[in-house]
């Protein structure tokens, strides 16, 4: 099984005036060709920064401090900016959270699509336009030829996200990073987009990193799941295994918070407390202040351990399968 992406020990820190924010702190995972990885966590857990680190768009005061991002064997952290630019939108594409904000409001759809084609392929404008039209058709936009000359504000949110997806698919990339692309959409549209992306990824052999805070999205879409908390991956494994019997108390808490999984009338479980500030985070397990299994031993950094075949978690007191 060939790996599209392998992230090893990635640390992305933000050097603010108030101190260092360790947004991503020692994150490792890999994505095989054609597979879907769900990157799950609350807001501020570092999942989006991980995505931006991979595509090389971490803006100052943030920067990748250490670690490797191997994309088809090449370390992206060492790549010159110009070579990185040639990969972006071409071999690695990204879809953003808010479709209302991702398209430039003053440029027509065709301009924004054609420029993407021309940035990476030596083709004529007509050819580029034809590719743009085909891509729009592929993501299910009716009468794509006419819609090409429209402005973004003439589209609904769902349609705009389809345009963004079409742009991401223009060069049939090896990897798409989708940063909560359905959170801003209606539930019905969400479902359509999910199905569409799943189909397209399968057809083109594209690997997918799906960043979300919504476990129910991951359940139906991903092959593997990595749960992030306070800049670290706390649990990693096959999606069904993790959801059925989480090892890390935080994962268990997340699953418990999903309303649909609880019986009607039963009290919704919740994780007490708040996500800690990443600024000057003390050492040790970041979850221990909210964890009912915490002990003094948790004040030392728990290492990532393989607790079952293909199952990793960063916890000293992991849940036993029966407890979940």
């Amino acid at each position: 099984m060939s790996l599209t992406l392998e992230v090893r020990g990635l640390r992305t820190h933000f050097f603010t005036r108030a101190g260092v924010v360790k947004a991503v702190d020692d994150v490792s995972f890999s994505v095989a060709r054609g597979r879907v990885l769900g990157l799950v966590g609350e807001s501020g857990s570092g999942k989006s920064v991980t995505g931006f680190s991979i595509i090389g768009l971490v803006d100052p005061p943030g920067r990748i401090v250490s670690g490797e991002i191997l994309f088809r064997g090449r370390d992206l952290t060492r790549l010159p900016e110009e070579e990185m630019r040639q990969l972006r939108g071409n071999r690695i594409a990204m879809i953003f959270q808010d479709p209302m904000m991702t398209l430039n409001p003053v440029l027509r759809i065709d301009t924004q699509m054609i420029e993407t084609v021309l940035a990476h392929a030596k083709v004529s404008r007509e050819e580029a336009r034809a590719r743009a039209r085909d891509a729009l058709g592929m993501v299910g936009i009716p009468s794509p030829e006419e819609r090409l000359s429209a402005y973004p504000h003439q589209f609904s949110g769902g349609m705009r996200q389809r345009v963004a997806i079409a742009i991401a698919l223009l060069h049939r990339p090896d990897l798409i990073i989708a940063d909560e692309p359905t959170t801003a959409l209606d539930v019905t549209i969400q479902g359509q987009i999910l199905a569409e992306v799943q189909k397209l990824a399968a057809e083109t052999g594209t690997s997918l990193i799906w960043i979300t805070h919504d476990l129910s999205v991951v359940a139906g879409l991903a092959d593997e799941i990595a749960v992030m908390y306070a800049g670290k991956v706390v649990e990693h494994g096959e999606v069904s295994a993790v959801l059925d019997s989480p090892l890390h108390p935080y994962t268990a808490g997340l699953i418990g918070s999903v309303p649909s999984r609880n019986a009607r009338g039963a009290r919704l479980k919740q994780i007490p407390g708040m996500t800690p500030s990443l600024l000057n985070l003390p050492p040790g397990c970041a979850f221990r202040s909210r964890c009912d299994r915490a002990s003094p031993a948790c004040e030392a950094d728990p290492p990532m351990r393989e607790l079952a075949p293909g199952r990793n978690a960063r916890c000293i007191h992991p849940l036993l399968p029966a407890e979940a």
Binding site: A18, G44, T275, S277, L279
Partner: protein, 300 residues
């Protein structure tokens, strides 16, 4: 990304926090220090200056147009030179600053009172009163200040009071717009509701409850407007429409020196200009930073 900082342990009053945040910018603190020095210099001009430049007994036409650094007959050095009448420019500048600052600060203060009151009334009364006042504001703001001031002075004639009046007419609209904007937001808050329930008189609600909460943006606008007023007064005086020759401001000093500049007596115009420049820049530096500190939208 959460970047909330833990609050410092000592007790924080709003004023102390404001002072601490203001002190963060060294440039702004520098501006404030310079401005305070200038204001003190202007205030105590009669005790600081080596001569009273408008006491004819103290000036000697024989000292006319001396370059900076020459010693005069009166026994002191003209560090900034003299004008055509033999006036010490340093003394003339400090006396000129008094007029400039008086006109600038005075007009800003009156305009702030008029504008803030109208802004409050507009926001509080709403409806027709509001739209009538705001129409007037829009109309006023759509014409450049210099033009309006020019016309008012053209019809009224020179004089310090006329200049102040013209500046007030030019400036009130900025305050009205600012105060109305924040008052509209504050009006919906609970404490105003509470004041209504207590059946407090309207003027008390307006000026005791609403106004103090609209102060931060008002202070920012006022700071900037003082600088603007000083510059505008100087411009009007330079054009010969501002203060009379008997009470020369910096602008008039510059205008007087203008004719000697082409013959190489640069200092008569140059130094009053530098004084004007330092005054305006120092106020603007303070105002620029005040806006950053007091604007909640820019808070990290």
């Amino acid at each position: 990304m959460s970047t909330t900082t833990a609050p410092p342990p000592r007790v924080e009053t709003p004023l102390r926090r404001f002072a601490a945040e203001f002190a963060e910018s060294r440039i702004a603190v520098g501006g404030l220090v310079v401005f305070v020095l200038i204001a003190l210099g202007a205030l105590f001009a009669p005790w600081i200056t080596p001569q009273n430049p408008y006491d004819l007994m103290q000036i000697d036409i024989m000292d006319g147009r001396q370059p900076p650094g020459t010693s005069g007959g009166a026994g002191f050095t003209f560090w900034l030179g003299t004008d055509d009448q033999g006036r010490d420019m340093f003394s003339a500048i400090l006396y000129g600053l008094r007029i400039s600052l008086l006109v600038g600060a005075g007009s800003a203060l009156i305009a702030a009172m008029v504008g803030a009151s109208l802004g409050l009334i507009a926001a509080y009364a709403g409806g027709r009163t509001d739209s009538a006042i705001m129409r007037l504001v829009d109309l006023q703001l759509s014409f450049p200040a210099i033009l309006v001031a020019l016309m008012i002075l053209a019809f009224l004639g020179k004089g310090i009071l006329n200049v102040v009046l013209a500046l007030v007419i030019v400036e009130w609209a900025y305050y009205a717009r600012t105060v109305r904007g924040s008052a509209l937001v504050e009006r919906r808050r609970e404490y105003i509701e509470a004041a209504h329930c207590l059946a407090l008189p309207t003027h008390r609600i307006l000026f005791r409850h609403l106004l103090p909460n609209c102060l931060p943006p008002l202070i920012v606008v006022a700071t900037m407007q003082v600088a603007r007023a000083i510059a505008l007064e100087a411009t009007l005086s330079f054009l010969g429409l501002g203060v009379p020759i008997t009470e020369p401001s910096l602008g008039l000093l510059i205008a007087n020196g203008y004719q000697y500049m082409l013959s190489g007596h640069y200092w008569i115009s140059f130094y009053p200009g530098i004084a004007l420049l330092i005054t305006i820049v120092s106020i603007n530096l303070v105002g620029d930073h005040l806006r950053d500190v007091l604007n909640p939208r820019l808070k990290r």
